[in-house]
Structures are given as structure tokens and as C-alpha cells.
């Protein structure tokens, strides 16, 4: 009987082992592999960004990252305290490392994302003292032209806590680099490569025991390149025009496709300094700079468009049929216009006399446009502006763009001032690009592109995508040519930008002055060339530029530079 009991006891035990070792084998093998194999992520290189001619805008350089694996926060702290002097760690570096660890304790914690070769060689010497240290060659983002491209390319940096909570970044891990602004952010899903993995064998305390992986590596996959429409040569030329003294924004677009040829905000900043953590000093310096380099004046800053908006007023008036191409307004310009009990000045105190539309555009006669605005009527004028996308983002493929400001309806004024708190004088303001009207440089470039392309407004695109165009207005060919003649005349002798004319090239455009209550007025110019077969639209805003003639100089220089290289490119395209 006792023998039987013994036998039964052993059979039960053997059965239990059979269940564990044979039936549940796979599950336990997985657990044992998980125990001993520590995946070390291998960062993938980001996609290279090229300009339209294959010049490099953003690339990757080899750098070294130092990371560590730790079984606990305390162990990490003491390791950091030990390494501190060698790695020249600041309190900030230590805090960051601990934050990264807390977020993903099983992943190697990045201590220095971009270690100098000096630090790396010292660490290599002491490798045995710090068995958990991982020194890796990692790709580091580099922009050969730095500040020249910062306005549109943005920068990369470590993913933040709040990003990690964003479902958009669900697959990301702490310590990874992501696009933080500009193209880098906009095209993050494309530019981000696929991280690889190397497997280290570790013991129960997380110390690596085998040099070569017990399992084959999964190699990182680099992202495909991003081809852009940017003309790096034109971009550099534009940056040179602003030099160090001017501040403002410039956008150059091919009106037929919306391809953004150049986009710049002055003063700029160096995105290379931002890679791998923004240095506190540099960031402080940028923040305290009165010229606000961190505000992108091409896509973020909004300014009253001033007289450049008279193109919109003209288009709306013509489309509505309230003005004929040869009509003169009832009241000739004598330097101002009496509306109710208020007197609205023309910028030209001497007055322009009686003008048709073409002359009014050429001379930018405020009195003419006051009356045109009144003829259109506020409701239709607001609707027309909305139709011309004056209340929209231009749709440029940059994440930071600000929406342009324009009333949504008459109700806007009722809500703002009360039903009796405002008068039709608002129409007069809107008609000359003042009032509740604030536009980005890129959105004005889009408006003039739409005119240059006979009403087809293109979506401005930096990346080389399929062009998207949308009909926003329709003018008869006579109407169109009258407005065009007016815009051409602006750059002829006697026009407001006559001094910016180019020999052998017909330019068309419009200057503008944005009233600035806080200081000197901002100067605008938006124009295109060749006037009869436009290939480039340029919008320039100079902060505190007083009026548009200086901006017109810059714009015409950009146009001239571009069109000189234009024919060469055309030959290449045909060949």
C-alpha cells in the first residue's frame, strides 16, 4: 500500500513536470529568452532632404550616443554620479536621463545623445568599469546651410513627454529623435526611419555578458529621401538680400504649380545648434532677441496687407460687376474722401484726380478703392475675400502656419462692437487692406499666384508633391488684362515701385504699407514675372520697412535672379 502511495506521488510529480516542460514549453522558452536578451535599439537615419536640383538641405552625420541600462532608478542615479565627472554631465542631463529611464526602464537610457570623440575615447578606456554602458554610433541630423534653410526645414530633437502621450507618436520610444518643426515635423512619418535592434545577452542584474549578439541583429532601415521644390541657390540669394540688418519674410512660388522656390524669415537661427537638445544659452538669446527670430515671418507673422490687398478689392469689384474696366469713381481723388462725418485720407496728399481701375492700381489711389469698396458693399466684400481664401491658411506644408485674419461675415462686427457700435467705414478700411484684415506673407503670395494663374489658386508646396489648384475667381480676359496692366505700371516709371524695374523683364506687382501702431510701418511688395507668362511670384514683407519700395527692391532682385537661371533649366527639361 505504501509502495503504491509512493508510486502515485512520483507519477503526479512527473506529470507536473510534463505539463511544464513539454506542454507549456514554448511559453517558458519565451520567458527565458526575454530574461536573457536585452534589445539595444539601433537608431535609423532620417531621410535626406534635397532641393529641386538635388542639393542637400538636410543630411545625417555620424555621431556617438552614450546610454546605460539600469535595474532601478537608484542604480541609475549612482551610475550617473560616478560617470558625471567623465561625461561632464550637468544637473539637466541627469534629470533628463532619469526622466527617460522612468518612461522606459527596459530600454537603454540615453545619457548623452551627442558625445564628443574625447568623451567616447575616455569611456572606451574605462569600458570594463561600466559594463552596462552602451556607446553607439548614431546618425545625427545636419543642415549644411544651417540658418539659410531653418525657416522651412525646422529642426529635430528628442521626443518629449507630451509627444509620447500623443497617439500620433504611439510607436515612439523615449530618447528617440523626431522632427520638431518645419518639414522635419510635417513629414516626420516619412522622414523617420525604422529602428533596428541588436540583442545583448544580460544576466539577472542587467549586465551584458556576451559581446556578440546571441541572436542576429535587425538592421535599422533608413527613410527614403524627401525631394522638395526649394531652389537652394535662390534661397541662399534671398537670405543674402536680407543680410544681417533687415527683418521680415519672403516667399517665392511658381504660380502654375504652387511649388515653393524659396521661403525665408529674417533673422534666422541655426537648426544645427538645436539638434540633440537646444543649448539653454542659445535659446535664451533667441528668445530675448527683439527681432523675434523664432517667429516665422513668412508663415506665422500676420500683417495688415495694406495696398497689396487692392488686387483682391479689384478682383471682387470686377467679379461682382460693380465697376467697369474704364469706369471712374464718382468722387475724384483730392487727397482724401469724406465719408459721413469722417475724412479718409489718400496716401497721396496732393490727390490723384479722377482715375480708372488701371490708374488706381498703378498709383494705389486710396480714394478710388474706398468708393469701390462701398460699391461692392460690406457683405459681398467679406464673402469675396473669403472666396479668395483671405480667411484661410495658404495650406503650405509646414505645421506652424498661422491662419489669415478676415471677417467671417458682417456679424463679426456686430459681435465685436455691438450692432450699432460700428459704421460702414469698416468697408473703407477693408478696401485698402486695413481693418480686420491680417495676412501672412505666404497667403499673399498665394493670392498673387492665383491672379498670375488666371484664378487658379495653387496650394503652396515645399515638398515635391502633385500640385493642387483651385479656381477661386473668374475674370474676363479684358478685366484680367486691365488689372495686369495696372500691376505692370506699378513697376514702370511713376509707379509706386518704379525704381525696382528690371531691364528686359516685365514685372507686375503691388507695394503696400502695413500700419503698425507699435512702431514704424511694415513694407510689403507682392509681384510676379514675366508679367505675361508668370513663372515666379514673390511676396516680401519688411518689418518696419516704412513702405513697399524697399521690399520691392528685394522681390525684384529675387525674381531677376531666378529668371536668369530659368531659361537654362528650361533647356535641361527639354533635353
Amino acid at each position: 500500500m505504501s509502495s503504491m502511495a509512493l508510486a502515485i506521488g512520483f507519477v503526479l510529480l512527473v506529470g507536473a513536470f510534463f505539463k511544464t516542460q513539454v506542454i507549456q514549453y514554448k511559453q517558458y522558452v519565451m520567458q527565458s529568452e526575454e530574461n536573457r536578451l536585452r534589445p539595444i535599439p539601433l537608431p535609423a537615419p532620417r531621410g535626406i532632404i534635397y532641393d529641386r536640383h538635388g542639393e542637400v538641405i538636410a543630411e545625417n552625420l555620424p555621431a556617438y550616443s552614450v546610454s546605460i541600462t539600469a535595474p532601478s532608478v537608484d542604480s541609475l542615479r549612482s551610475a550617473l554620479a560616478q560617470l558625471g565627472p567623465t561625461l561632464q554631465l550637468g544637473q539637466n542631463d541627469i534629470n533628463n536621463a532619469i526622466r527617460r529611464y522612468r518612461r522606459a526602464p527596459t530600454r537603454p537610457t540615453v545619457i548623452l545623445p551627442d558625445a564628443t570623440i574625447d568623451i567616447v575615447s575616455v569611456l572606451e578606456e574605462h569600458r570594463l568599469d561600466f559594463p552596462r554602458l552602451i556607446i553607439q554610433s548614431v546618425p545625427k541630423r545636419y543642415y549644411p546651410d544651417g540658418p539659410v534653410v531653418a525657416s522651412f526645414v525646422g529642426y529635430t530633437g528628442e521626443i518629449t513627454e507630451s509627444d509620447l502621450n500623443d497617439p500620433k507618436y504611439a510607436s515612439y520610444k523615449p530618447g528617440q529623435q523626431i522632427g520638431k518643426a518645419g518639414l522635419e515635423k510635417q513629414y516626420e512619418p516619412i522622414l523617420h526611419g525604422k529602428e533596428g535592434v541588436r540583442f545583448d545577452e544580460v544576466d539577472a542584474r542587467g549586465r551584458p555578458v556576451r559581446g556578440e549578439g546571441p541572436r542576429p541583429d535587425l538592421n535599422p532601415e533608413g527613410a527614403p529621401p524627401l525631394y522638395t521644390n526649394i531652389d537652394l541657390d535662390l534661397q541662399k540669394f534671398t537670405v543674402g538680400l536680407f543680410a544681417d540688418s533687415l527683418q521680415g519674410g519672403a516667399v517665392a512660388i511658381d504660380p502654375n504649380t504652387g511649388e515653393v522656390l524659396a521661403l525665408y524669415s529674417a533673422p534666422s537661427w541655426d537648426p544645427n545648434k538645436f539638434t540633440g537638445g537646444i543649448p539653454v544659452e542659445y535659446y535664451k538669446q533667441l528668445l530675448e532677441d527683439k527681432r523675434r527670430p523664432l517667429v516665422n515671418k513668412a508663415i506665422q507673422g500676420t500683417y495688415p496687407p495694406g495696398s497689396t490687398f487692392k488686387l483682391a478689392t479689384s478682383i471682387i469689384g470686377l467679379e461682382e460687376g460693380v465697376v467697369g474696366v474704364n469706369d471712374h469713381m464718382p468722387v475724384p481723388c483730392t487727397g482724401g474722401y469724406q465719408f459721413g462725418n469722417r475724412y479718409f485720407r489718400c496716401w497721396e496728399k496732393k490727390g490723384h484726380g479722377s482715375l480708372s481701375l488701371e490708374g488706381a492700381i498703378k498709383h494705389s489711389c486710396d480714394v478710388y478703392f474706398y468708393q469701390l469698396g462701398l460699391k461692392i458693399g460690406l457683405a459681398k466684400f467679406i464673402a469675396g475675400g473669403i472666396q479668395l481664401t483671405m480667411r484661410d491658411k495658404s495650406g503650405i506644408d509646414l505645421p506652424e502656419e498661422t491662419q489669415a485674419r478676415w471677417p467671417y461675415a458682417i456679424d463679426y462686427y456686430n459681435k465685436k462692437y455691438g450692432p450699432r457700435g460700428w459704421s460702414n467705414a469698416e468697408t473703407l478700411n477693408l478696401a485698402i487692406g486695413q481693418g480686420a484684415n491680417s495676412q501672412t506673407v505666404v497667403n499673399m503670395a498665394k493670392l498673387y499666384s492665383a491672379f498670375a494663374a488666371k484664378g487658379m489658386a495653387p496650394r503652396p508646396e515645399i515638398a515635391h508633391l502633385v500640385p493642387q489648384r483651385k479656381q477661386v475667381f473668374t475674370l474676363t480676359s479684358i478685366q484680367d488684362s486691365v488689372v495686369l496692366e495696372g500691376l505692370k505700371a506699378v513697376l514702370e516709371a511713376g509707379g509706386t515701385a518704379g525704381a525696382s524695374a528690371i531691364q528686359g523683364l516685365t514685372l507686375a506687382g503691388k507695394t503696400g504699407t502695413a500700419q503698425n501702431t507699435g512702431g514704424d510701418d511694415h513694407g510689403w511688395f507682392v509681384g510676379f514675372a514675366p508679367a505675361d507668362k508668370p513663372k515666379i511670384v514673390v511676396a516680401v514683407l519688411l518689418e518696419f520697412g516704412l513702405h513697399g519700395s524697399r521690399a520691392a527692391h528685394i522681390a525684384s532682385a529675387i525674381i531677376g535672379h531666378y529668371l536668369k537661371v530659368g531659361p537654362i533649366k528650361a533647356v535641361m527639361d527639354e533635353g
Binding site: L6, L13, A16, F18, N35, R36, D203, R205, R207
Partner: protein, 415 residues
């Protein structure tokens, strides 16, 4: 003493193969990627084995009567040494908080409880064999109860729960072998069962009525019946209070026994890693000395309490089955020795020694698969440890002697 030396070769072979198997596993347990002190322990284990075999040889050449004559002094000595641990005892290894080691200064000499496992068997056998009639009532059992109760109480004071369980196992197994009726055994065990079941009122209630039925059917002395029922009620109610009295590590071990994942980083970690080691061994194992769980230090106490996990990981289901078959072979052999023994003392000693090992194997091996709580009791012939190996081979020697003096020739046992 001119008796011819007859050796029970099967017993010797089973114990010898198990010991060599064990030494090999202790050697493997030392083969870790980060070398530790365990790396050289197999050498001392071999030394202890040789010493133990020497003892066995000596005992094997004495006589059962000499052993019986030595029983009382040896028992007294082991009680004295056990008592001494309460005064100058030290802890070690997983049981660092207990006082099971005798030490001079910082030098640990041995664990008296390991020797007591043998002497208590001898003493119990002597007491039970001296009783003319089979115990029929609880009162008849006061002597055997005292023989086990004294060392058990000391061991529980150390406190060493695992060894305590072994003593209870020995007690019941030897009473059973002495012919005590099974209802009486259940009645003796009933307060302890009440204790365990007290955590569930329903289960305890069911048990209580079953017990009542048993008492009415078996009809022990009235006073005994009443005392038993009172005791059951007392333990059923007292248990939760007892729980509070347990040391936190003991509470933890019991809790973790119920749910290892409750505490995966502390006590439960041991069991989880042990199961992972065994399970990942599969059918053929990862190869001798090549277990990753052991090599990379995921498996704790791989040379003592969890040495069988190393067997499972490195030699797989095959190795486990062979090891358990060897144990079964040994135990069946000893059972036969007990059956064929010349007198009831010899028979009880043989069966007692076997049951002591059986409890060890059951609890230790069961623990590696989380079928038993982690009580920190070693695996005979496998776990590293001098006292236990020595005591085990002492037992082998005694068994050899009993086998040699058994009825008929030892050859007649070979059926």
C-alpha cells in the same frame, strides 16, 4: 561481530548514483557567467560525500542492536545541540533570519536539525517498537508525540518551517507504519487541518461535520472526542490570530505560494524564475552546465533549494524523470527493507528514514514547480550542504545494516 558483510547493492547503487548526479548538479550550479563562490563548492560537496560514505561504511559494519543502544544518547545529544541553536544559532542563505546553524564565532559548523532528522527517527522507532500494543487512542500516543514534539518545538522556534514540516511527515508516516488506524491519524491531524481551513468558513464548517461523523463512528474515549472538537474549534478561530504572529517573511512565503505573481520581484521571483528555468528546459534540456536561467543568475539558490530547477533546465524532462525514477527506486527499495526487517525497531527506522527523504523530495521538487510553498528544505543527495549529505549517508549506512540483518539473505530481497 564476525557476521559476514552483506551489502544491499541496489540500495547502495541508488544512493550512490543519486549522490554522483547531485555532485554533478552542484558543479553545474557553480558554472555561471559571473563566477561566484558557488563555482568551487562541488569540491567540498565531494569531500562531504566521501566523509558521509565513510560514516556509512562504519555504521554498516556495526549492528542494529548497537544503533538501538545508541539511540537514546544520540537523541539527547541532538536535542541539546538543537537547544543550543536557540542561544548561539546563526542564519544562512535564504534562511538568513533563522537560527538553524551552530557556529563558533563566524565559522558555521553545521545544522543540528539535519542530524536530528535521523535521531528522531531512531528514537521514535524505539518508542513505538517498545509499546506492546498498537496505540488505539490519543492518550496512547503521548510518548511518540513527545519524542517528535520537543525537537519540533525547538525547530519552530528557530524558526524553520520547512524542517518542522518534515518532522510532522516523519511522525505520521511512522505511526502509520506502526499500525495506528487511519481514523486516529486523521483525528490527530484534525486541529492542523482546521487551522488551514479556517480561512474559509464554509470549508471549515464542512470539515467540522465530517470530523464529527468520524468521531461518532470511531468512538474514541469521550473525553478525547470532546478535547478534539474543542481543539478544532480553537484552531479554526485562532488561526487568523496565528497568522498575525507569523514572521513577515513566512507570511510572504505563504502568500506567494498561493499567488506567485503577487510579489514577482521578491519571494515570488524565485518560484517564477524556477518555473521558467524548468519549462524552458523542454524535453531534452539546454545541456549540462548550459542553462541560461542559471548561468545568468536568474535562478536563485541554484545550488541549494532550487538545484532541481537546474536539473529541469539543463537535462529537461528526460533528466527530471530519471532523477525522480532514481528516488522512487531508492524509496521502493527501502520500503522492501522495512517489510523484511528482523524486528519492528529496524522496520520502523527504515520506513522513517525513507519517509523523511520522501517528504523532502515532495516538498522541494514540488516547490520548484510552485506546487508547494517555499519552505527552504533541501533535496536529498542533490542540494549543496555538508550536514544533510552527512546525515543522509549516515542513514544509508543504517539502512545497509538493517538490510543486512533482515530476514533471509539479502539476496532473497532481490526479486
Amino acid at each position: 561481530m564476525s557476521r559476514p558483510i552483506v551489502s544491499d547493492f541496489r540500495l547502495l547503487a541508488a544512493a550512490g548514483i543519486l549522490s554522483l548526479f547531485g555532485v554533478a548538479m552542484v558543479y553545474s550550479a557553480g558554472q555561471t557567467d559571473t563566477p561566484t563562490a558557488v563555482a568551487t563548492l562541488y569540491k567540498s560537496q565531494i569531500l562531504w560525500l566521501l566523509i558521509g560514505m565513510g560514516f556509512a561504511y562504519a555504521v554498516g559494519h556495526s549492528s542494529v542492536r548497537f544503533i538501538e543502544w545508541m539511540t537514546t544518547p544520540l537523541y539527547a545529544l541532538s536535542i541539546f545541540l538543537l537547544g543550543l541553536t536557540l542561544v548561539i544559532g546563526k542564519g544562512a542563505g535564504t534562511a538568513a533570519s533563522t537560527k538553524s546553524w551552530l557556529a563558533i564565532g563566524s565559522h558555521r559548523i553545521g545544522q543540528p536539525s539535519e542530524i536530528a532528522k535521523v535521531t528522531v527517527v531512531l528514537m521514535l522507532a524505539k518508542v513505538l517498537a517498545s509499546q506492546r500494543e498498537t496505540p488505539k487512542s490519543l492518550l496512547d500516543l503521548w510518548k511518540p508525540a513527545l519524542v517528535v514534539g520537543i525537537p519540533w518545538a525547538i525547530i519552530m522556534l528557530q524558526p524553520d518551517l520547512g524542517t518542522g514540516i518534515v518532522f510532522i511527515g516523519i511522525f505520521f508516516a511512522m505511526l502509520f507504519w506502526a499500525g495506528v488506524a487511519w481514523p486516529l491519524l486523521i483525528l490527530i491531524a484534525s486541529p492542523a487541518i482546521s487551522l488551514v481551513l479556517s480561512f474559509s468558513v464554509g470549508l471549515w464548517g464542512m470539515w467540522f461535520f465530517l470530523l464529527l461523523a468520524l468521531v461518532l463512528w470511531y468512538r474514541p474515549y469521550l473525553i478525547e472526542g470532546i478535547v478534539l472538537m474543542v481543539l478544532n474549534v480553537a484552531t479554526g478561530v485562532v488561526a487568523p490570530m496565528m497568522w498575525e504572529k507569523l514572521a513577515p517573511y513566512q507570511q510572504n512565503r505563504l502568500k506567494v505560494f498561493i499567488d506567485p505573481s503577487a510579489d514577482p520581484r521578491a519571494s515570488g521571483y524565485h518560484v517564477i524564475q524556477s518555473k521558467v528555468a524548468i519549462g524552458s528546459g523542454g524535453f531534452f534540456g539546454k545541456g549540462f552546465t548550459l542553462g541560461t536561467q542559471k548561468r545568468l543568475a536568474f535562478l536563485p539558490e541554484q545550488h541549494t533549494d532550487f538545484i532541481f530547477s537546474v536539473v529541469g533546465e539543463e537535462l529537461g524532462f528526460l533528466g527530471v524523470t530519471i532523477a525522480l525514477a532514481l528516488f522512487l527506486w531508492l524509496f521502493l527499495r527501502i520500503t522492501k527493507i522495512a517489510e523484511r526487517a528482523n524486528d519492528s525497531y529496524s522496520s520502523l527506522v527504515a520506513f522513517g528514514l525513507m519517509s523523511s527523504w520522501f517528504v523532502h523530495v515532495l516538498v522541494n521538487v514540488g516547490m520548484t514547480l510552485n506546487l508547494m510553498p517555499i519552505t527552504g528544505i533541501p533535496l536529498p543527495f542533490f542540494s549543496y550542504g555538508g550536514s544533510f549529505l552527512l546525515a543522509s549517508w549516515l542513514a544509508v549506512g543504517i539502512l545497509m545494516r538493517i538490510s543486512g540483518e533482515g530476514r533471509g539473505s539479502a539476496l532473497s530481497l532481490r526479486r
